[in-house]
């Protein structure tokens, strides 16, 4: 990575440079593309649609809860709304967002590969995702589901009178999309690294995606077959979990959480990878304890499979197992804490540039620490009995999964936007957007901690038994409004920047890494003009490095002066 930057592309030239976007403008070329970058962009557009759908459902839920007597929605409708929110956000947004968008786009670039190992499989995974999403949308418009995203039996298999089978089909198909992506990532990371790119020179983003892919591989089929068993019970009366047949509904919960707990690591590990990249870049410091962060990714992946029982402390599992899982859950805090402390140590004595991606990354730390620490309360057996099924849990997992993943997704999108599109976003608006989202998030979910601690159960559509909860709920709903405005801001300015944004240089942040140093301003179809040779460690930053480009160059319409 010691070669000089590629500066042969003048910023203002009218002749069009050839890159992965300009190579072909037809719609067809996008929809049958095998280019991992284009597929990443397709994923980006699609996950945003699902994010919008899920947000609307969340809006209904929050709106209903402003009144203690639940006057806006019927209780049935409310159940369908929070289920729609959960299913769409988890299966079609959070699990997909970072691996399929940023992972797809940047993994081959960081590895010095021309493409992922199986480009056709990659395209297939996108269409599987789209097909699964289509089933999901059909399920929603044809009545929705009222079981909650967890599909607990026997509610889902015997009693629920809603579109359980359709929704399960959607989740099943989307699961196979994830598996295809994971297979692709694993093979690519193992077999397609550039010469000289040894395992301990890999960016931490790659390590995180490796761990994520392993989890997807081992976990997704388990939930797929478990949900399929619920579907065949509804359709054919083949009831493996049916108490009517002497089966145990808790077994469903075991099998469901065997995947669905590791699934939260599918959401958070790639986020951690993104944050590692950004913090190292804008602290101009090598990541402190690189090996430990890399190993902690794998440790989280492994330990994450041994903690599922903590979702069932109050479901009737044996005390012995509950104690075991309580212990294992507390242990997961160790690799997570290793990461957080190492990021903090990376910031220490670094040259910190508080750009928008960095602001989001720091925001990620704030949300993740709150979410992680409250997770420790929940891992405690005695405390959890009080907290299970309350808004405390809701707030906890929103802080970890949603706060973590969305902050990191936005951080990553801002960080790599110049590489993905060749345009700069307006820095000032970026920071405003970050502040609004960050404060909106706290406004929404901080009151829910208090609500949950006071005993407000989740999934209730009224609370007339405790009208004193109203103030918190109204505050939370107001926060959701702020959050909604906050999400609008980046969407608007990022879209505008496609047309009006200043043209980005090849490496606006002076960041290290193959994706910044060895590619064109916007990468060409096969990424590199020649396969790079890596001769140094990752994150070879020093505080004397050149700063990121100044904010004045990132306004709309700004024109960069050619440096040197």
């Amino acid at each position: 990575m010691s070669k000089t930057l590629d500066k042969k592309h003048p910023n203002n030239s009218h002749q069009e440079e050839v890159n992965y976007i300009t190579v072909d403008y037809t719609m067809k070329s996008w929809f049958i593309t095998k280019d991992h970058k284009r597929i990443g962009m397709l994923y980006l557009a699609t996950v945003l649609v699902f994010f919008f759908v899920g947000s609307v459902a969340a809006g209904f839920v929050r709106f209903e809860l402003t009144s203690p007597t639940g006057q806006i929605l019927e209780s049935e409708t409310f159940n369908r709304m929070f289920t729609a929110h959960g299913v769409v956000m988890i299966f079609f947004f959070l699990l997909i967002a970072i691996p399929a968008v940023l992972g797809n786009f940047f993994l081959p670039l960081m590895l010095g590969a021309r493409d992922l190992a199986f480009p056709k499989l990659n395209l297939l995974s996108y269409y599987l995702y789209l097909g699964g999403g289509l089933f999901g949308v059909v399920a929603l418009v044809s009545g929705g589901v009222d079981t909650g995203w967890t599909f607990y039996t026997p509610l889902s298999s015997m009693y629920s009178n809603s579109q359980v089978v359709l929704t399960i089909t959607a989740a099943f198909i989307t699961g196979f999309s994830s598996i295809a992506t994971a297979v692709n990532f694993i093979v690519t990371i193992h077999k397609m690294r550039a010469p000289g790119l040894t395992w301990f020179r890999l960016p931490l983003f790659v390590w995180a995606h490796y761990a994520t892919s392993i989890i997807i591989l081992l976990g997704t089929p388990v939930v797929a077959i478990t949900l399929a068993l619920v579907a065949v019970e509804r359709l054919f009366h083949i009831g493996v979990f049916s108490p009517e047949y002497g089966g145990d509904p808790v077994l469903f919960q075991h099998m469901f959480w065997f995947y669905s707990h590791p699934a939260v690591y599918i959401m958070i590990l790639p986020a951690m990878g993104v944050v590692s990249e950004i913090i190292a870049c804008f602290a101009r410091n090598r990541v402190f304890g690189y090996e430990f962060i890399a190993a902690s990714s794998l440790a989280i992946g492994g330990l994450g499979f041994l903690v599922w029982g903590h979702h069932m402390f109050a479901s009737g599992e044996s005390y012995f197992q509950a104690a075991f899982f309580s212990l294992m859950t507390s242990l997961v805090a160790i690799p997570s804490a290793i990461k957080v402390f190492n990021w903090a140590a990376t910031l220490y004595k670094g040259m910190i540039y508080l750009t928008t991606p960095m602001a989001y990354a720091i925001g990620f730390l704030g949300l993740f620490v709150i979410g992680g620490l409250t997770g420790l309360y929940c891992s405690n057996l005695g405390v959890d009995v009080h907290l299970t099924g309350t808004y405390f849990i809701v707030a906890h997992f929103h802080y970890v999964m949603v706060g973590g993943t969305i902050m990191a997704l936005l951080a990553g999108i801002h960080f790599w936007w110049p590489k993905m599109t060749g345009r700069m976003y307006p820095e000032i608006w970026g920071k405003i957007g970050m502040l609004v989202i960050f404060s909106g998030f706290h406004m929404t979910f901080m009151p829910q901690f208090i609500l949950g601690f006071l005993g407000m159960p989740r999934r209730y559509h009224y609370y007339h038994f405790a009208p004193e909860f109203q103030a918190y709920n109204v505050f939370s709903t107001a926060g959701a409004g702020v959050l909604a405005i906050g999400f609008m801001i980046p969407v608007v300015y990022l879209l505008l920047s496609l047309k009006h944004g200043a043209k980005a240089p090849a490496n606006p942040w002076n960041a290290k890494g193959l994706e910044w140093e060895k590619t064109d301003r916007v990468p060409i179809t096969h990424n590199f003009r020649e396969i790079p040779v890596v001769t140094e460690e990752a994150y070879n930053y020093s505080i004397d490095d050149e700063p990121p480009i100044e904010a004045k160059y990132t306004k709309f319409g700004a024109v960069m002066e050619e440096k040197s």
Partner: protein, 130 residues
């Protein structure tokens, strides 16, 4: 990256090797069937027929190993492929942690799942609660 795969194409394994494996598989299969029939039919062995479980599973595992090792060519492939070939089987055993739950249910106040009276289980496919 394991690149000590010297020649460009993978090993062409002679047919006799495959045929021998096929015969071994068939022999093992007849063995396991014979043991099962014997355990079932012979009253003097009835007491020990639980051993049949071990025999059957041991033979099944051996057969599976033969298929993976020879037929699926793992024997002739790189260490990386070997790792991925066995990783799944190893990780599958993780699922048996669930027995931590069921093995200790008998110590619980409410032993749960096997003692639900049948009349407590209405099967209402249509309207909830009906």
């Amino acid at each position: 990256m394991s690149n000590n795969h010297s020649e460009g194409h993978s090993h062409v394994i002679p047919i006799p090797v495959y045929f021998r494996t096929y015969l071994q598989l068939l022999v093992l299969m007849f063995l396991t069937v014979a043991v099962a029939v014997l355990a079932e039919s012979n009253p003097s062995l009835r007491e020990m027929s639980y051993l049949n479980n071990f025999v059957a599973m041991a033979i099944a595992t051996t057969k599976a190993m033969l298929v993976v090792w020879i037929f699926m060519g793992v024997k002739y492939s790189s260490n990386l492929t070997k790792f991925y070939a066995f990783f799944g089987f190893v990780w599958f055993s993780m699922m048996f942690l669930v027995y931590l739950d069921y093995a200790f249910r008998k110590d619980e106040i409410n032993t749960g799942w096997s003692h639900v009276p049948a009349n407590a289980l209405p099967r209402a496919k249509g309207i909830p609660g009906s």
